[in-house]
Every structure is written in structure tokens, then in C-alpha cells.
């Protein structure tokens, strides 16, 4: 069991938690050491996994999932701890590792209760990593919830503003989603094998059996898609996002928007679409409408917000809507674009939230009406903010452009009027994105200094620079050399595409 590299993605955060457990609450150095070492190992592990994976693929290993392992857990219900990764999971693990790494540095000076903060933070990471390595629906769902619940305390204790309300709202809405999800998963489980066959939670086997009764598929698809869609901030279940993000501490916003929201998209194709392909073909249109609305609606809403985090949260609604939107196009290119968008949005939003946190830490306000001309005062942060903004509005050379273009070109493949109309609407969002990004950049960074007190503020510290540079390098990396990622993802989508085509 411990010979499988994937298991270590869960073990290491758990060890981090154990390590934190023995630290004293006051010894910041020890806590930081544990976190930095842990997250560095995770990042190294993720890179190593990525390299290894590509090498294996390059060597012609053509299995759907690599590094698979399966250990019986709850035998009566055939629940396994089953792990395995395809290209998408590998990239998601990499993304998570990068963001955990950056998040660690972004919360370098967290206060109060640093130990508890990092404990929950590590638990959250456990859930995220566990989710991405799982190919058993049960463990997947378990890790999914493991990732959700620390948010409550992380926001509630270390957040700002209306934190109690927001934390509660976020938790309840996400858990509400996961209630539907659970029901969907149960339904899939009980239909996972043809009559007389052994029921299973294993995603690959379920897909192979393809035995879900068509009369149930539609219902289950709605449940699972909505369940994951809530976390993917799908209209009209997105309202946790603005409040939640606005109140969350920096690293939590980063991890939440950067990784956690990706769990939604990931689950949507890995479970809802892959396992229920007939329903996906049949019902995609409903969710195309909803996600299409998300895309435009989020962007428009972002235009008039005044709180930096609200702007970003609505922007996330728009971008994550794009992810789901692309997935629902049900073709390889668009779905590839969706994954690229997940990666891109993950990195870029993490960067955004990190920067907002840093700015807020200095100015103690997030209201753009109370700030201005920060570029003169903190040029480093200003430049980073602009880079993040450009990534968000899809500037070539940064990751957002690659993702959006792949989505649009994929989405355009469906030639009927309905799809076309929604794609055109979705493309409009890039203009609106430009509008609100530039609005913020203009008000926040450029122009005259609004508050004389701000002139005394300092630019980024070394750990802040470290955190942001990591993310920017990744964003630019994807933006410049997207093709290896693109190919990896495309290859991983083949089974899903086959399933969808067979189901027509």
C-alpha cells in the first residue's frame, strides 16, 4: 500500500497534521517549518508524479489510469480505497500542490492560533489531494467532504467581516450540494453492475459496466451534477461564493477558489458525465443554460462590486461557470479547455486572493473606493495584480487565454443554433471581464493616491514575493507552453468521449 506514490499525497498532509499536533501553539518557527517542509515535499511529489506519468505515457503505457491501487475497505459494500490518476488528475494534483505551497507562504503571519489554522489547512489539503487521487466514489466523496468542512472554521475563526454568517452560509450550501451528490452516488452504486453482477463504487468499473438504468440516469445526473455544480458555483447556487470569499482569510480564499472549486468541475465530468453518459447527452442543455447564465451573470455582477474580494468571487463564478459550460459541450476540445480553465483559474484566482490579502493586510480596506494609486506605493504588488488581471481577461501568453480559446473552439464544434447562441454569449464574457478587471486596476492601482496614509505602506516582503512568483511562473508557464498539458488532458478525455458517443 505504501509503495503507491499516490497514497503519499494523503499521508503527507496527515503527517503534517501530526507534526503540527506536537508543535506548541506559540512556536511559530516550528509550525512554519512543518508546513514549509510538508508543502515542499508535496510539491516535489507532484512534480515527480507528473514527470513519471508523462514518462510512462511517453513509453506507450496506455491504460486509462496509472499508478492504480485498490485496497478493500468496507467489504460488505465493496468499498475500496482505490487510487489512480490520469493526466487530468495529475495536473490537478500539481495545481493543488502549487497552491498549497503558495498558500503556506501567503499565510506566513497568520494570527491568532497559527497551529490550529494550519491544522485545518492541512486537513483541507488532505481532502483535496485525496479527492483527486480517488477512483472510488465513496472515498472520493469522503475526501470531498473532508475538504469542505474545514472551511467553516477557517473562515469563521480567521476570517474578517461578516464571517460567521458567511462561513455558515458557505458550509451549508456546499453541504447541501453534497447531500444531493450523495444521493446521486448512492443511486449510481446500486445500479453499478448489470443484474446479478457485483456492485461497485469503482468509477472505472462502473464506466465499463455502463449499467445504470436509463430511466434512473436522468435523475442521478441531475443530482450529481447539481451536487458538484454547487461547488462549481453554478447559477443559481453560487451565492455562497461572494460572501464566503469575501470573509475568508487569504490562504483559504486561495485554496478555496484555487482548488476547492475545481473539485466541482472535476466531479462533474468524472462522475456525472462519465458514469451517466446517456443522461449527459440528453440533459446537457439544461445545464448549458444555467452555466451559460453563470458565465455572463457573474461577469456582469462583478462590474459593479466595490469590494475587491466580491469582484473576484463573482469573477470566479463567471470563470468556473465557463468550466462547467465547457464540460457540457461534451466534446474533447471543449472539455480539454475546461480543464485548462480549471488550472488557469486556480492559479490566477489564487494569485488574486493572495494579492488582495496582502493589500488588505496593509491598507485594512478592500473597498476600491477607498484606495487608489497603489502602483506608486507598492509597485511589486501592483504589477502582480495587473498580471493576474491580464491572466483573468485572457491575455495571450498567460494561462487564461489558452483555456478560453480552447473552450471556444471546442464549443463551436456543436453547430446547432442553441449551442452557438450560448457560445456567443459566453464569448461576450471576455469583454465584460476586461471591463471589470480594468475598472479595478484603474481604481485600485492607477490614478492618484486616494489616501495619504497609504503613502507610508511598504511593498511585498520576501515570503509574499515567493508566494506570488510561484504562481506567476505557473501562469506564464501554461500560457507559453500549453501544448504538453493540452495533449495530456486530451488523451485523458478519450474514455469519456467514447462513453458519450456510445451512449447516443
Amino acid at each position: 500500500m505504501f509503495g503507491n506514490i499516490l497514497i503519499w499525497f494523503v499521508i503527507i498532509p496527515v503527517l503534517m497534521m501530526a507534526g503540527l499536533g506536537v508543535c506548541r501553539n506559540s512556536s511559530m518557527a516550528a509550525i512554519r517549518a512543518v508546513m514549509v517542509i510538508g508543502s515542499t515535499i508535496l510539491l516535489a511529489l507532484a512534480i515527480w508524479l507528473c514527470v513519471d506519468f508523462l514518462a510512462l505515457r511517453g513509453a506507450g503505457v496506455d491504460d486509462e489510469m496509472l499508478f492504480t491501487g485498490s485496497w478493500m475497505w468496507y467489504a460488505p459494500l465493496n468499498i475500496h480505497l482505490a487510487v489512480g490518476v490520469d493526466g487530468i488528475s495529475v495536473l490537478m494534483l500539481l495545481l493543488s500542490a502549487v497552491i498549497v505551497f503558495a498558500g503556506t507562504f501567503a499565510s506566513w503571519k497568520i494570527n491568532p492560533l497559527p497551529k490550529n489554522f494550519f491544522l485545518w489547512f492541512a486537513l483541507l489539503s488532505t481532502g483535496v489531494f485525496g479527492f483527486f487521487i480517488s477512483i472510488d466514489m465513496f472515498t472520493m466523496f469522503m475526501f470531498y467532504e473532508v475538504a469542505l468542512i474545514p472551511m467553516y472554521l477557517l473562515i469563521g475563526v480567521w476570517g474578517t467581516g461578516r464571517k460567521e454568517y458567511s462561513a455558515m452560509k458557505l458550509t451549508l450550501m456546499l453541504m447541501g450540494g453534497s447531500a444531493f451528490l450523495m444521493l446521486g452516488l448512492l443511486g449510481i452504486y446500486w445500479h453499478s453492475a448489470p443484474a446479478g453482477g457485483e456492485l461497485t463504487w469503482n468509477i472505472l468499473e462502473i464506466a465499463r459496466n455502463n449499467a445504470v438504468d436509463p430511466s434512473w440516469q436522468n435523475l442521478l445526473f441531475c443530482f450529481t451534477f447539481v451536487g458538484f455544480g454547487v461547488l462549481g458555483a453554478m447559477f443559481p447556487f453560487h451565492t455562497w461564493s461572494p460572501d464566503g470569499h469575501a470573509c475568508a482569510p487569504t490562504a483559504v480564499s486561495m485554496l478555496h477558489a484555487g482548488v476547492l472549486m475545481k473539485l466541482g468541475g472535476y466531479g462533474c465530468f468524472r462522475i456525472a458525465i462519465y458514469l451517466l453518459p446517456a443522461a449527459a447527452n440528453e440533459l446537457a442543455w439544461i445545464f448549458i443554460i444555467l452555466t451559460g447564465i453563470s458565465v455572463v451573470y457573474g461577469a456582469f455582477s462583478a462590474c459593479v462590486q466595490t469590494d475587491l474580494k466580491y469582484i473576484n468571487a463573482y469573477s470566479s463564478v463567471s470563470h468556473c461557470g465557463m468550466v462547467l459550460f465547457a464540460l457540457l459541450m461534451l466534446n474533447q476540445t471543449a472539455m480539454t479547455g475546461a480543464i485548462l480553465q480549471m488550472l488557469s483559474h486556480g492559479l490566477m484566482t489564487a494569485l488574486f486572493f493572495a494579492l488582495i490579502g496582502m493589500i488588505y493586510g496593509r491598507t485594512h480596506t478592500r473597498d476600491i473606493r477607498e484606495m487608489g494609486g497603489l502602483m506608486q506605493i507598492m509597485p511589486y504588488l501592483g504589477v502582480c495584480y495587473m498580471i493576474a488581471g491580464f491572466a483573468s481577461l485572457g491575455l495571450p501568453g498567460l494561462s487564461g487565454f489558452v483555456a478560453e480559446m480552447t473552450i471556444f473552439f471546442g464549443a463551436w464544434e456543436d453547430a446547432d443554433m442553441f449551442h452557438r447562441a450560448f457560445v456567443v454569449a459566453a464569448t461576450c464574457s471576455i469583454v465584460i471581464t476586461a471591463v471589470y478587471i480594468l475598472r479595478v486596476v484603474g481604481k485600485l492601482l492607477l490614478g492618484k493616491v486616494h489616501d495619504e496614509h497609504h503613502l507610508q505602506l511598504t511593498d511585498a516582503t520576501w515570503f509574499e514575493r515567493f508566494s506570488t512568483v510561484t504562481l506567476i511562473v505557473c501562469i506564464a508557464g501554461i500560457g507559453f507552453f500549453p501544448n504538453w498539458i493540452n495533449e495530456t488532458i486530451q488523451h485523458s478525455f478519450l474514455p469519456i468521449i467514447h462513453a458519450l458517443q456510445n451512449a447516443i
Binding site: 468496507y74 473532508v146 472554521l153 455558515m168 447541501g176 447531500a179 444521493l183 448512492l186
Partner: protein, 480 residues
């Protein structure tokens, strides 16, 4: 008969020791009882029963019954530990012996409830399990609430036993002259559904539902839980409830299995929805921790009943597992509540504000208990909930599927109020009311057991599999 005899043996030892020691020399009673009890539990678990069915089939002791009894024992043991501080306070120390004696007898009654395969034995077990509790509820004589709780409890209990007896008398009309479960099962079939049988079922359901505090038979719960001494509340909320749930399953599945889908499935359906929902709706407004836990336990009972809804081996195993997890989680919460109440007298939720600053370990334990009750992974409550949901949906009926949906939606409400407690302890910025103190060693042991249970019961699948195999080995559902 081994478990019953062991319990009676301990009862006698305690009784004699209590009788023949002076009032000021009863310090040893708690350790004595606890240790004996622990040994007894191990013995019950390990020693195989020589004969499964005795007294002409009136009493059955198989692997599943044993497992159930062990679950109850775990709960009772933790209750003993939790009670040790309270029972030594000067107001109640004089009744220390009686506390253990009564608890042991109720436990004996619960054993009978589980093992009985005859309604007479069952009803005696039920009464043995509920009447002494009335005395326990009235234990805090210096407190008015205790009296009020006791009268409410006894009145409802007696009324419910009248209803239950009436129901049984109607059942008897259908039984072919015998009150053995197997005989009744052979006589009752779906074909002759009639109003009388429905009244019989409804009254029996009501009678057992009282112990389980299913809605609308639950109204005593909150007042009694609030008024009773915390240790008794803890006992009442897990052990008594667990035994009733097991008995419920055995009776309804084994005796009335033939009319399951025709009649009582739908009664149970309605009752479960009402129980979960009403329990949650009341719980979300409560400010008193014990009252809060009462409503939480009402709603939990609804989830427990989902196992009965499944009405198969998996359902029973899941239900047993659910109750075990519920035992550790709920007792974990009560351990914290009673520890704090014994030290400071505070039981309000607002009194817990900022608890993590003064008593971080208690706050952590409480948080884990709340998460487990709410069904948050990786804690045990998550697994028990999912397993029970899985067992219910197994029949692929859309109605049950919708039932699970309602239950799942209710988990959100429950999450809300469990988080309120977490919020009070961790998030609230008020100055902490409760000062820092050190918990006693028995309390710590209880807390540790609960916390370890909460953390590992789910992650380690052994316990669940043990339940499944013991249920499988017991042929519980075959109508022998």
C-alpha cells in the same frame, strides 16, 4: 442467558457492597462497578453462548444479539465514567449505590428486550428498562427540574406502556393464540390487512417509539433530558435509545415482516420524516445544551430508523454501527457537557463562548463530537450515516430514495445547529465564561474513549464488518 446472568451478578455484588458498607465508605463503588462491568463486557463478547435458544424459544442469544449488547455496554461503561464526578457530589453521594444498581437493572431489561422472542418477556424487559430510569431521572432531588422531568417521564412512560399493551392485545387477536414472535409471524400475513391490525401496529410503534423518541411520541424527550442529571440524560439518549432501536428492528422485521410493505413501512416512512424534521427544527433554536442534545437525539433517532426502513441484514448491521457511532459521539458531547456542568454549573450554549481559549481540549473533543454527529468525514458519524443511507437505497424504490433525500436535506439543518456549538466555542468573540480547569481522570478516560471512537470507528472498517458478519451468522431475519 450469560449476559443477563453476568449483569445480574454484578448487580448483586454492587447491591450487597452498597448495603453493607457505611455511607462514607462508598468511594470504591465507581471503580468496582466500572471494572466489573468492563470485564463483563469482554466476557459477553468473547464467551460463546452454549445454547442459542432457550426457554422454548422465548429467549435467543445469538451473535447479533451479543453484538448489540456489547454496543449498549460500551455506552453504559462510558456513562459510568462520566457519572463518577457527579455521583460523588454531596447531594447525591448517598444514592451512589442505587445509581449503579438501577442502571444495571435497566441494562438487564434492555438485554431482555433484545433477546426476547416472546412479547411477555419483551414487555417485562421494556418495563425494566424504563421504570428504573424514572427513578434515575428524579435523582437530583435538590433540583426542581429533576422532579419535573421525572413526572413527565413516568407519566408518558406509563401512558405509552398502556398504549403498547393495548396494541399488543390487538396483536394477540391475530396471533393464533401464541405470543411467540415466530408464531405470530407465521399467522400474520398481508392478505388479512384490517383496521385492527393497523391499530395494533400503530400502537406498538407508538409504544416503542416512545423509548426511541420518535415524533410524535417524543415530546417528553426535551424536558426530561433537560431536567435529568446529565449522566442519566447521556444514558437515556444513547443506551436506552439504542436498545429500543434494536428491539424495534427485531419486532417489526421479525414479527411483522410479512406486512412490511403493506402497512408499517408507510407508518415508519411518515414517522421517520417527521422525526428527523421536527427534531431538527426544534434543535436549531435551543440554547440549553442538554435540551439541544435532546432534540438532536430525536433527529438522530430518525436516522437510526432508516436502518429499520431497509429491513434487511445490511440495514440491521448499519443500524448497529450507527448506534455504536452515535454512542461514542453523543457520549463524547455529554462528557464535555457534564464535565463543564459539574465544575461550573453552566449548560447554556452561550456559556460555551470562547471555550477554546480556556479549555482547548474540551473544545476539541466537543467539536469532534459535533462533527461526528453531523456526519462530517473523516469522523465516524460520516460513515455510519452513509452506510445507513446505502442500506436504505438498496431496494431501488423511488419512495425510499426520496426518503433518503429528505434525510439528507435534513442533515444540512442538523449541520447548522451542530455548527452553532462549534461557533460558540471557536468563533464567538465574547469573553469566555468558563474558566480553565483540569478534568478528572475518569472524565478524561471517557473523553478519550469517545474521541478515539469518533476518529477511528469509521476509518477502521473492522467494526462494521464484525456487525455484518454477526448479523449474517445469526439468521435474524429468517422466520424460525
Amino acid at each position: 442467558m450469560l449476559p443477563e446472568l453476568i449483569i445480574l451478578g454484578i448487580f448483586l455484588i454492587v447491591f450487597l457492597c452498597d448495603t453493607f458498607t457505611p455511607d462514607n465508605g462508598k468511594k470504591f463503588l465507581t471503580p468496582l462497578t466500572s471494572v466489573l462491568f468492563l470485564l463483563a463486557t469482554v466476557a459477553i463478547w468473547i464467551v460463546p453462548s452454549c445454547q442459542e435458544s432457550v426457554f422454548g424459544g422465548m429467549y435467543v442469544d445469538n451473535a447479533a444479539c451479543k453484538a448489540m449488547k456489547c454496543v449498549l455496554n460500551v455506552g453504559a461503561f462510558i456513562c459510568f465514567l462520566e457519572a463518577s464526578k457527579w455521583i460523588s457530589t454531596k447531594e447525591v453521594v448517598i444514592r451512589k449505590g442505587e445509581f449503579f444498581e438501577l442502571i444495571l437493572i435497566t441494562l438487564f431489561g434492555m438485554y431482555l428486550m433484545i433477546s426476547a422472542r416472546h412479547f411477555l418477556l419483551f414487555i417485562i424487559g421494556l418495563e425494566s428498562a424504563s421504570l428504573p430510569i424514572a427513578a434515575l431521572v428524579a435523582f437530583n432531588k435538590h433540583k426542581y427540574e429533576s422532579h419535573e422531568a421525572a413526572i413527565k417521564y413516568i407519566m408518558t412512560a406509563v401512558f405509552s406502556s398502556a398504549i403498547l399493551l393495548t396494541g399488543l392485545s390487538f396483536v394477540y387477536a391475530f396471533s393464533g393464540g401464541s405470543l411467540y414472535f415466530s408464531d405470530i409471524a407465521a399467522q400474520i400475513s398481508a392478505g388479512e390487512m384490517s383496521g385492527l391490525l393497523l391499530f395494533a401496529l400503530a400502537f406498538v410503534l407508538a409504544g416503542i417509539g416512545f423509548k426511541l423518541s420518535l415524533v410524535p411520541f417524543h415530546l417528553w424527550t426535551a424536558d426530561v433530558y433537560q431536567g435529568a442529571p446529565t449522566a442519566v440524560t447521556a444514558y437515556l439518549s444513547v443506551v436506552s435509545k439504542g436498545a429500543a432501536a434494536f428491539a424495534f428492528f427485531i419486532i417489526f422485521v421479525q414479527v411483522f415482516g410479512q406486512v412490511y410493505s403493506a402497512a408499517w413501512e408507510w407508518m415508519l416512512y411518515a414517522v421517520i420524516i417527521a422525526t428527523i424534521t421536527i427534531g431538527n427544527l426544534f434543535a436549531m433554536r435551543q440554547k440549553n445544551m442538554k435540551r439541544f442534545m435532546a432534540f438532536s437525539s430525536v433527529s438522530q433517532a430518525g436516522y437510526v430508523m432508516l436502518g429499520a426502513m431497509a429491513a434487511d441484514e445490511l440495514g440491521l448491521a448499519s443500524m448497529m454501527f450507527y448506534i455504536l457511532v452515535y454512542v461514542v459521539s453523543n457520549l463524547g458531547a455529554f462528557a464535555v457537557i457534564s464535565t463543564i456542568e459539574d465544575r461550573t454549573g453552566y449548560v447554556g450554549m452561550d456559556d460555551y463562548n470562547g471555550l477554546h481559549k480556556t479549555n482547548p481540549y474540551l473544545a476539541v473533543a466537543m467539536t469532534l463530537a459535533m462533527f461526528s454527529l453531523a456526519g462530517i468525514p473523516p469522523f465516524a458519524g460520516f460513515f455510519s450515516k452513509i452506510l445507513i443511507f446505502t442500506s436504505v437505497t438498496g431496494t431501488n424504490s423511488m419512495a425510499l430514495y426520496m426518503l433518503v433525500l429528505i434525510a439528507l436535506i435534513n442533515t444540512i439543518i442538523s449541520l447548522y445547529y451542530y455548527l452553532l456549538v462549534v461557533k460558540a466555542m471557536w468563533i464567538s468573540s465574547d469573553a469566555p465564561k468558563i474558566e480553565s480547569f483540569k478534568a478528572g481522570c475518569t472524565e478524561k478516560t471517557a473523553l478519550w474513549i469517545c474521541v478515539l471512537g469518533i476518529v477511528f470507528l469509521g476509518l477502521v472498517s473492522y467494526v462494521y464488518q464484525y456487525f455484518v458478519s454477526s448479523v449474517g451468522a445469526s439468521a435474524l431475519l429468517s422466520l424460525n
